[in-house]
Symmetry: C2
Subunit: 216 residues, 2 copies
């Protein structure tokens, strides 16, 4: 059975958990605690799996280890039966990937735990300054996404059409994070509407941080 | 003819320029100056093209605007003739995308111009602190990539096999940036070897910042 190296609160792992649930792929969760023991993702044992020292990673039955959440989700979509997570047309795929990357490249990495830790330890940033940093990049990113989605004819019940895609796998964890840090959300009615549609689906419910085996 | 909204020094635009050149796609370069006029990417005219206010964007002949460098490159690969930029097998594609995302998600966004500007303006970081920040994320990211590539049987003359892929389109601009900020490079022999192989190809030469029409 494939093994998912995951942390309940990791936004990138959360994306892959949604995709695995949407596809109905049986797997075993292997928790990697990002804060305990100086960060278990830095251990030699885990780096032997993923030299980047980041979660998630998906170890296949033959021992192949896949890394990077978006790459893992596209692999699952290409190899597993179940609902498709990318559109059939090249232009639609480009749009879904652009929405996903607008989150996975331009919001999430800047607000990741390791970056917030650096701000505090190396630059002496206060909690207030770290919260302002977090809120700034959330607002910058979500404003762009709201504008991309609000007026586009391909936006449907979900980010692209009326079934969930890779884009929704990224959007829901990012909004979860934004709420966790008490970011104002009133300016993103389209994103909130899509998030609510996702929340009705069992796959998104099963992937939520609070119901993971390693949740605290 | 497609129009590429670009800035000579933008790492993400540089990736797309390489892919366009590898594919031999005729296009017009439309410079967007990221530092002049408070950042031309923030103008209402440009945001009407790309609501995220980031370069690059590729406007197709029918007016469709594609955004996010990796999504644009995959679109080009799916729709244009010429050498393929992603492997034929799902596992190979997952590896190439993971390498690309290890750069495009986990190195580049944290060191982007807008982040360095925030560090200076909002957190009062000195030039020395900004340089240390830059070097830290370069070293963290490139160490992981070197480990991913050095020992993997699929690494060839290029990141994956003996022809350039999406991964090389990302690697070369990131190493260009690292050199520009005087980051030590001795620990990355595999990355440097691949970079040198890329530098021999006309497509990579044509895409370099120094030979762009808007180069300063």
């Amino acid at each position: 059975m494939p093994q998912l190296y995951t942390y309940f609160r990791s936004s990138a792992a959360y994306r892959v958990r949604i995709a695995l649930a949407l596809k109905g792929v049986a797997h075993e969760a292997v928790p990697v605690h990002l804060a305990r023991n100086g960060g278990e993702q830095h251990s030699a044992a885990y780096r032997a799996k993923n030299p980047q020292g980041l979660v998630p990673a998906l170890e296949l039955n033959d021992g192949t280890v896949l890394t990077q959440s978006l790459a893992i989700i596209e692999y699952l979509d290409e190899t597993q039966p179940g609902p498709v997570l990318l559109p059939a047309d090249a232009e639609g795929r480009a749009r879904v990937r652009a929405i996903a990357q607008g989150i996975a490249c331009d919001i999430h990495p800047i607000n990741n735990l390791r970056v917030l830790q650096y701000l505090g330890k190396e630059l002496g940033a206060t909690q207030e300054q770290k919260d302002a940093w977090y809120g700034h990049w959330i607002a910058t990113g979500l404003q762009g996404l709201e504008a991309m989605l609000a007026s586009h004819p391909s936006t449907g019940r979900f980010c692209h059409g009326d079934t969930p895609t890779l884009a929704d796998c990224c959007l829901v964890p990012q909004l979860f994070n934004a709420r966790r840090f008490n970011c104002p959300m009133d300016d993103y009615p389209t994103l909130l509407r899509i998030d609510a549609a996702c929340a009705e689906l069992p796959a998104f419910q099963q992937a939520a941080p609070a119901v993971q085996p390693d949740a605290e």
